[in-house]
């Protein structure tokens, strides 16, 4: 419905003239609309009178697929929800299912999950700040931050096998233990990232143009943010220090020492500062985790390793007596899934987790356990029930509401996407502002299409 500016401004038009608004369509294919979204703007000159958002251009039926795929198979679909921080989605989903099953991951596995989540959070914030800086014209900052993100992608590649869509967690643990040189690589990369962040900070934070565009634009009040159920850096920039990691500590966050950056004004500049500060806090968390982690069973003499085919051959012949003391040397994609991870990075519960490779190759019970986990209609069985679990995603509270009917697949999985709530509040952020303010505001919303439309 077309509102005339008189409704908003309250001042009548000059005699003989009338105000009329103009309908402008931004999107769905638009460079500053990170992904695809459609904004229907009613503008009067350069001032925005009304905004309407149309979403759903990336609806990929995650919730329907989750009803068709077995429990562990849903993990690749969860990767593609918030695809800039995929490990956080993996962890959130796995923890929700484990809550329903009643199993707890052993300590080392929990530390690994925290490390993975925080590294993902760093990539999320780097992408958000980099992309929004690029849209304001700061191309150098984009290149610096994407370079930092590239180091992290290589680290994640080393850890999980893939750069972006990692599918790292499983019900009951993670896919494999940390590689032996992970700690050294991680600390070295953090030095480089800190340098890049400090360079970007020097370029942007006191930059006249950047500050003028970001400060005072896209303001939202505390009450409005709570009325729209907004969480995450968006809510924290308005002054409410709500973080799921502190309010409902999960995994081992209660043992870690970290702060939550809280803003005051609720404008774009506060959100930018909050995200930069959160990157630093995430790096602190990972460093503490690497210190505190219980040791894995990594230190091995070469004489204690046998090739995997030795296990298979001896196992087939029934010569399994001495195999218990050896570890299998497997292909690099299966590294970390052996006896070192059993009971440390994954639970020992054979009803939910694959057996270690030495068991699978070495004796018939292990092979049968493996088959019972991977055969269609066998696998993880979650008792019937309903539960809700939330983790702190890059944009806020990422919740999974899971209904199980007791079979090998979910009955219903609902993902609570944090950026849906922010996008619903977009009219509040944009109305009354200028057209030029759409770009910094939308950049700081960090809308991720995969999460918004699922």
């Amino acid at each position: 419905m077309i509102k005339t500016a008189q409704d908003i401004a309250g001042e009548p038009a000059a005699p003989g003239r009338r105000h009329q608004t103009y309908l402008l369509n931004m999107g769905p294919a638009h460079p500053a609309m990170h992904g695809i979204i459609r904004l229907i703007l009613e503008i009067e000159g350069e001032k925005i009178v009304n905004t309407e958002t149309e979403i759903g251009y990336l609806h990929r039926a995650f919730e329907k697929h989750a009803e068709v795929e077995p429990w562990n198979n849903v993990v690749p679909w969860t990767d593609r929800l918030n695809y800039v921080s995929p490990l956080i989605n993996n962890v959130g989903y796995a923890m929700a299912v484990e809550k329903l099953c009643g199993i707890t991951v052993p300590e080392r596995g929990q530390y690994i999950r925290v490390i993975a989540s925080e590294i993902s959070r760093i990539t999320d914030h780097l992408t958000c700040v980099g992309a929004s800086a690029m849209e304001l014209g700061a191309f150098t900052v984009f290149l610096y931050l994407i370079k930092s993100r590239e180091y992290l992608y290589q680290l994640i590649d080393h850890l999980t096998g893939a750069r972006i869509t990692t599918s790292y967690t499983r019900i009951g643990g993670v896919k494999g233990d940390l590689p032996p040189d992970f700690k050294a690589k991680c600390l070295e990369i953090f030095k480089k990232i800190r340098k890049d962040i400090s360079d970007s900070d020097k370029l942007l934070t006191k930059n006249r143009i950047f500050v003028d565009r970001m400060e005072g634009t896209g303001i939202i009040s505390k009450e409005d943010a709570l009325a729209y159920a907004i969480t995450g850096p968006f809510l924290r920039s308005t002054g409410v220090p709500y973080d799921v990691r502190k309010a409902h500590p999960y995994l081992i966050y209660d043992r870690l020492n970290f702060e939550i950056p809280v803003g005051t004004k609720g404008d774009n500049f506060d959100r930018y500062l909050a995200r930069l500060a959160e990157i630093e806090q995430s790096m602190r968390i990972v460093e503490q985790c690497l210190e505190q982690m219980p040791e894995g069973k990594h230190s091995l003499e070469p004489s204690e390793m046998e090739e995997a085919y030795v296990f298979q051959d001896q196992g087939k012949h029934g010569d399994t007596a001495l195999l218990y003391k050896y570890r299998a040397k497997v292909d690099q994609t299966l590294e970390g899934m052996g006896r070192d991870a059993d009971g440390t990075a994954r639970t020992r519960d054979r009803g939910h987790v694959l057996p270690p490779k030495e068991e699978t190759y070495g004796n018939i019970e292990g092979l049968m356990d493996h088959f019972q986990m991977v055969m269609w209609s066998w696998g993880v069985k979650v008792p019937a029930g309903e539960t809700y679990f939330a983790v702190e995603g890059g944009n806020g509270e990422l919740g999974f509401h899971i209904v199980s009917s007791g079979s090998d697949r979910a009955y219903r999985i609902r993902c609570r996407p944090p950026c849906l709530y922010i996008m619903a509040a977009l009219p509040k952020l944009l109305n009354g502002g200028w057209v030029a303010d759409i770009v910094p505001t939308f950049g700081s919303v960090n809308m991720i299409g995969g999460e918004l439309d699922r």
Partner: protein, 187 residues
């Protein structure tokens, strides 16, 4: 640990309960969703996917009876939270369940929390649960020409309704697609 207090009310009483909760300080509508219980497997039902036998030979009944009465098809779930704006502490959550039937109609919570607008649109889009006392409801995630409500259990996952391209009903010579009629017709 997030442990919301679970309550169940009649569909007619949902709005009053939500209003009472809002007045009691539950200021954030965290989530709203629905579940379609029409394909719920009862305990003891035989089903090719029902194997609980493990190495130890024990079978365990993992199934439970249907949580909502047989007449109702959908269970609409609201989750509200009491968030203290000063300290950021979560002072409690309530999960409100209500069972609605085949022709489901509920009163909209838009007047209490503005976010309920989009959440209700999504529930309408995916399940077909109607809400009154609100401006015209329209789809959120799918296009207007889409027929049916995909998250219902009777909607097959690969039933496509393309707007352009093969199987969209456009004439085969139309330049908007490259192939001729596909061999598989989607109904």
């Amino acid at each position: 640990m997030i442990a919301p207090e679970v309550r169940r009310v009649e569909p007619q009483k949902v709005f009053e309960t939500l209003k009472a909760l809002k007045d009691a300080g539950y200021n954030v509508l965290v989530d709203m969703t629905a579940v379609d219980y029409s394909a719920w497997p009862e305990p003891g039902s035989s089903d090719p996917y029902d194997k609980t036998y493990r190495m130890t030979g024990e079978t365990k009944e993992l199934r439970k009876p249907r949580p909502i009465p047989a007449a109702a098809r959908f269970d609409v779930v609201y989750q509200v939270m009491k968030l203290d704006p000063e300290t950021g502490a979560d002072k409690g959550r309530v999960e409100l369940h209500t069972a609605v039937g085949e022709e489901p109609v509920l009163r909209s919570a838009m007047s209490l929390w503005p976010i309920a607008d989009w959440l209700e649109r999504e529930v309408w889009d995916m399940f077909g649960v109607r809400f009154t006392d609100r401006p015209d409801i329209k789809r959120l995630l799918l296009y207007e020409q889409f027929q049916g409500h995909p998250l219902r259990k009777d909607y097959p996952i690969s039933k496509r309704q393309p707007l352009i391209g093969p199987a969209s009903g456009e004439p085969a010579g139309n330049p908007s697609f490259n192939h001729s009629e596909p061999t598989v017709k989607y109904d």
